[in-house]
Symmetry: C2
Subunit: 252 residues, 2 copies
Amino acid sequence: MSDENTLVFLKIPSKIGAWSPNTWKTRSTSSYSLNYKGIPYKTVWVEFPDIEKTLKDLGVAAYTTQPDGKTPLYTLPAIYDPTIKTGLTESFAIARYLDEKYPDKPMLVPKGTEVLQKAHINAMQARLEPIWQFMIPKTAWSLNERSEKYFRRTKEEMESQTMEEMYPKGEKRKEEWKKLEKGFGQADKWYGKEDVLVMGGKEKACFADFAFAGYVIWIRILFGKESEELKDVSRWQDGRWGRMIQALEQYE
Amino acid sequence: MSDENTLVFLKIPSKIGAWSPNTWKTRSTSSYSLNYKGIPYKTVWVEFPDIEKTLKDLGVAAYTTQPDGKTPLYTLPAIYDPTIKTGLTESFAIARYLDEKYPDKPMLVPKGTEVLQKAHINAMQARLEPIWQFMIPKTAWSLNERSEKYFRRTKEEMESQTMEEMYPKGEKRKEEWKKLEKGFGQADKWYGKEDVLVMGGKEKACFADFAFAGYVIWIRILFGKESEELKDVSRWQDGRWGRMIQALEQYE
């Protein structure tokens, strides 16, 4: 299947399997994207402190900047396309690239839906805000040592608190988890009773489904398949998100 | 054009023309919707305190409830369809009804876009949050006396402050207006350079465009066509929202 022209998918390894930390959610989104289009690829693992050098060496530009607004910020996931000897980062940009390169495969961003899909992703970001205080520390705790050190240093500086301080405990935890449920509840209102996926029904997926599902998969991996947290999300809103993950399972 | 079977569009009158206050934004959305589909209708004006009785008399159900979660909350805009002797409220529900009744006219909610459009509307609501503190008082100040009294009483109770207290002044005003610009800036990121409307290009509109444009029209009517406020919004994000309103002008 794989030759020197095979797409390369760059991801960050961890102690608990194939995922990257802060960008893990979007890594899962890009996995879904590649699998949905049925494009063969090989995986390259990159530790956190090596991301910048690796992408620079491959000639892949940074998608965004550091908080100073100037210094490029190199992030994963990324893909590298040996046929054009360059690549790109950021899951939506990757999806658009895949759609352009493989227009005969199912489209991740069907014509006319780009603005709407971005709005969907943005709305989910706003509504699921409470998730970060759980997931950033959980992420730190599950990285390989070298990446963890790097991740902690940069995140703890940015947030002005340690991972252990950020993670909600006791009553606070209950409240914040409740807020997360409410956030999912907002999204629930957008769906018709029978809709499982964003474009209706449960057959035709699109990028926004994969971006949304990324949140749930994130919880599944960081808390575990048998965790109460995953069970919560799967039963919230009458089991809607459990059904969503099930409908997309074939693309994981 | 109009006979006893003509659709009836119910709106709230005001001192400054054909618009309703809190629900004015959505009234404009519904006007756009009717005009986009090219459906003839006649307008009935309903003062604020008469909404509930009018809708009940017509057999139109409330779409939502009072903050107590039980008591029905009767709102405008509404349409009444004499052919089925009932009607409905809430702009999205109205759009869906029009699409069902007139499937041969341009679709407001094309198949597969309902969840996405609702997410777009929801994202705009979240991002344009700072607009309300300007628009609620501006609304009160422009109602007919009977409606203003009613509107003030209910709103001031709900917000625990007078309209005059709510309206931002001085430095606060500058900051909040800046926040609003940032909110529009969020939406700007979803659009490609050449996109004017949500579905790309500037020809094919959809409900989410009309819901979004409602915010700008709201500013235009309440602050005035020549106001600095409208000029601000029209030039923000490189004139994107000015172009949007222009592209939709034919449906106003």
